[in-house]
């Protein structure tokens, strides 16, 4: 098997995650889909690392994880406070960005 398949898998997972972001309304699920996309990228990085024979790709993936962790912390905090004020976790409820 050619390791390129990992890349295909990564692309597939990324696309699924992106589609999920677009079709789900629950902010938490949307957020999970974002995580899925990040993970798909990480898989690609790791695969690239293997392809090129150096560890830079893994380092980037590592940083991605850290950033993702930070993002989750803040994001979930936002969701919780949104839920407190609006009693809803739907992203469509926050549709104030229009005239």
């Amino acid at each position: 098997m050619n390791p390129v398949n990992y890349l295909y898998l990564s692309a597939l997972l990324f696309t699924i995650g992106a589609t999920g972001v677009l079709i789900r309304r629950n902010a938490i699920v949307v957020f999970m889909c974002v995580e899925l996309m990040l993970n798909a990228c990480n898989l690609a990085f790791v695969t690239f690392s293997r392809m090129h024979g150096n560890l830079d790709g893994q380092v980037i993936a590592f940083f991605t994880m850290v950033v993702a962790a930070a993002e989750v912390v803040v994001g979930l905090a936002i969701i919780v406070s949104l839920f407190r004020s609006r009693h809803s976790a739907s992203v469509d409820d926050a549709s104030l960005m229009k005239l």
């Binding site: 992106a18 972001v21 960005m97 229009k98």
Partner: protein
């Protein structure tokens, strides 16, 4: 001596400034300041005149350069005054008659609360008129030209609370503007042809220019003259201008300003001499106007309007003479001066009558006034005799010469022009006799007005009668002084040039013919207005009479074509501006608004929708990248 020239203008200008800016505290003495300053100008004029008389004929031109006015590359306009015999004649006429009329106005305007302002305007007029005749180039002349127009506008509309006066003032200015347009185009043409518009260089280089251009310049100058001198087709304003106070009518619309056109033509004689076609047009305009004015004068019952028609007609004589070229220039000016005397006298007489008749102007409500106003009657009568050309009085000398010169033009034109001039003389005799008879003879026809005040005709105060008397002297003797021994001819000849025409008819014949038509005119008038009583209400009259009462329908034509047409034009243009020019822009704006209204729907506020666009954009970017790599 040259330095005095500027003072001629400065004195009345100072008066205008002082009187107009001085405010109410000058109300008590304003009229005397105005009269004093205009008389000062006259005195300076006399001093300069004696100086000129003391010189040889060739050295009678004084120049005073004051300052460079408009210096632009290739375009040089100076404020330079030129005093020669022609200007001198005008200066004396303007300041002399002007001062007399100032004096007259002191009495005439006594009860007007805005008398100070009136004198300010009169002084302004004098200054502008003096600039006009003293200017050494056409552009400076233009300043005076429009300046007198302004003064005329202000004075016609002096009683602004009367809408008719305000309208008449505006009309006068506008019609004059059309003429002014001619003058400015003439100046532009001169500039392109000669590179300058100073009298000296232009008039001395006429020979080098093509006849076509000269004809153009001459016709444009004629247009200007028509506007200012109320010649056909720009004559319509003069009748309305009688809305102004009578001294104004006497000074501006009889003696001085309206003759500026004649001055312009005579001054530009060299150009006209080189453009025979234009000269022919000038004579035609003069002949038509002299008949036109005379006919209108016959039909008017308003004494001032009848006199206005007469003015038009007399200026027609002058223009006709000026159009005849060197054989006529001197006589045009001579008639101008004598006309200045007798017509001013006639107007002042009319003013005096109105003064005594509660400002009534309708001659059908006069009658038999000779008993009530003897001085007015005598002075008016002398003016009357002068204008109809009674032998020995001034009009006889000047008008006779013009008729003679018209015949001397030669050929068919000569006969036609001469015939017209003769016919004009007959009509003049008719309408002036009519005025005389209706006003001073017959039975009294006045009635109490609607308030029950019956007019009490009375002689006017001394300030008014003295100028009338002086002018009557002028009317009687000026012609003789000028004409006998050709004094006036010799005086003006160096400036205007002179040729003796070879008339197909002898001078004596012309004089006799003039006498005959004169008698016929007077006789008809006597038959119509002297022998039987004048009806107090105007009869319907013939078609011609009715047309003449309406200024031969020329005003109706103007009204229908220019006023109505103009109103329609502007109204439709306003509509076009609003709907079309602005509409295109607003339409663009509206369609952009519609488009963005559609686009706005994309902004539904849902983050997910935005995410789709973002994602789609990302997909397109990836596709573009791949495509670029593939290419």
């Amino acid at each position: 001596m040259e330095n005095l020239i500027a003072l001629l203008v400065a004195a009345p200008l100072l008066g205008a400034v002082v009187l107009l800016c001085g405010g109410r505290r000058l109300d008590a003495v304003g009229h005397w300041i105005g009269t004093l300053l205009s008389s000062a100008s006259f005195v300076i004029g006399v001093v300069l005149f004696t100086d000129l008389l003391g010189k040889n004929a060739e050295h009678r031109t004084l120049m005073q350069h004051l300052w460079t006015w408009v210096p632009v590359e290739g375009f040089q306009a100076d404020v330079t005054f030129r005093l020669d015999q022609l200007s001198m004649t005008f200066v004396l006429l303007i300041t002399g008659v002007g001062s007399l009329i100032h004096l007259y106005s002191v009495g005439y305007m006594e009860h007007d609360e805005r008398r100070r302002r009136f004198f300010g305007y009169l002084n302004l007029f004098l200054a502008a008129m003096l600039i006009l005749v003293l200017a050494d180039n056409y552009l400076l002349l233009y300043v005076g030209w429009e300046g007198v127009g302004l003064a005329s506008y202000l004075l016609i509309g002096f009683w602004q609370h009367k809408p008719s006066a305000a309208t008449a003032a505006k009309k006068a200015f506008l019609v004059n503007r059309v003429g002014d347009m001619g003058l400015s185009i003439a100046i532009m043409l001169m500039f392109t042809t000669f590179g300058t518009f100073a009298f000296g260089p232009v008039l001395s280089h006429v020979g080098d220019a093509s006849e076509g251009k000269l004809t153009g310049i001459a016709l444009m100058l004629l247009l200007a003259a028509c506007g200012k001198s109320a010649q056909v087709p720009l004559q319509s304003w003069l009748g309305d201008a009688m809305e102004g106070p009578t001294p104004v009518s006497a000074l501006i619309h009889a003696a001085t300003m309206v003759t500026a056109g004649v001055y312009l033509i005579v001054r530009s004689g060299a150009i006209f001499n080189a453009a025979p076609d234009a000269q022919l047009v000038v004579t035609v305009v003069g002949a038509v106007t002299l008949l036109f004015g005379a006919i209108v004068g016959c039909a008017k019952d308003d004494i001032k309007k009848a006199l206005a028609g007469s003015t038009m007609s007399q200026i027609g004589y002058m223009v006709l003479a000026a159009g005849l070229g060197p054989i006529g220039y001197v006589f045009a000016i001579m008639h101008l001066v004598t006309h200045g005397f007798f017509k001013a006298g006639l107007f002042l007489g009319a003013g005096s009558v109105m003064h005594g008749m509660n400002d009534e102007v309708d001659m059908r409500k006069y009658g038999g006034l000779r008993k009530y106003m003897p001085v007015t009657f005598i002075t008016f009568g002398l003016g009357y005799l002068a204008i109809i050309g009674f032998p020995g009085l001034s009009g006889f000398f000047s008008k006779d010469k013009i008729i003679e010169a018209a015949f001397a033009k030669g050929g068919t034109e000569g006969w036609i022009l001469g015939g017209a001039a003769l016919l004009g003389a007959a009509i003049t005799a008719f309408y002036m006799t009519r005025v005389m008879l209706m006003t001073f003879f017959g039975e009294k026809r006045w009635q109490p007005d609607e308030n029950g005040h019956e007019p009490h005709p009375h002689e006017s105060p001394r300030t008014m009668t003295i100028p009338m008397i002086v002018l009557a002297f002028g009317s009687v003797f000026a012609g003789g002084i000028f004409g006998i021994g050709d004094r006036f001819l010799h005086w003006l000849e160096p400036v205007t040039g002179h040729e003796e025409g070879n008339s197909p008819v002898s001078a004596l014949t012309v004089t006799l013919a003039t006498m005959v038509v004169l008698v016929i005119g007077v006789a008809i008038a006597w038959a119509q207005y002297g022998r039987r009583p004048v009806p107090a209400v105007a009869p319907r009259g013939s078609l011609l009479t009715r047309a003449a009462r309406r200024d031969l329908l020329q005003d109706d034509f103007n009204h229908v074509v220019l006023v109505r047409g103009g109103e329609h034009l502007t109204r439709s243009l306003v509509y076009v501006d609003h709907t079309l020019v602005d509409g295109v822009v607003n339409g663009t704006a509206a369609s952009m608004g519609g488009l963005s209204g559609r686009l706005r729907k994309l902004q539904n506020g849902y983050a997910r929708s935005y995410a789709v666009s973002m994602f789609g954009g990302a997909a397109i970017l990836v596709a573009a990248t791949l495509l670029m790599r593939a290419v």
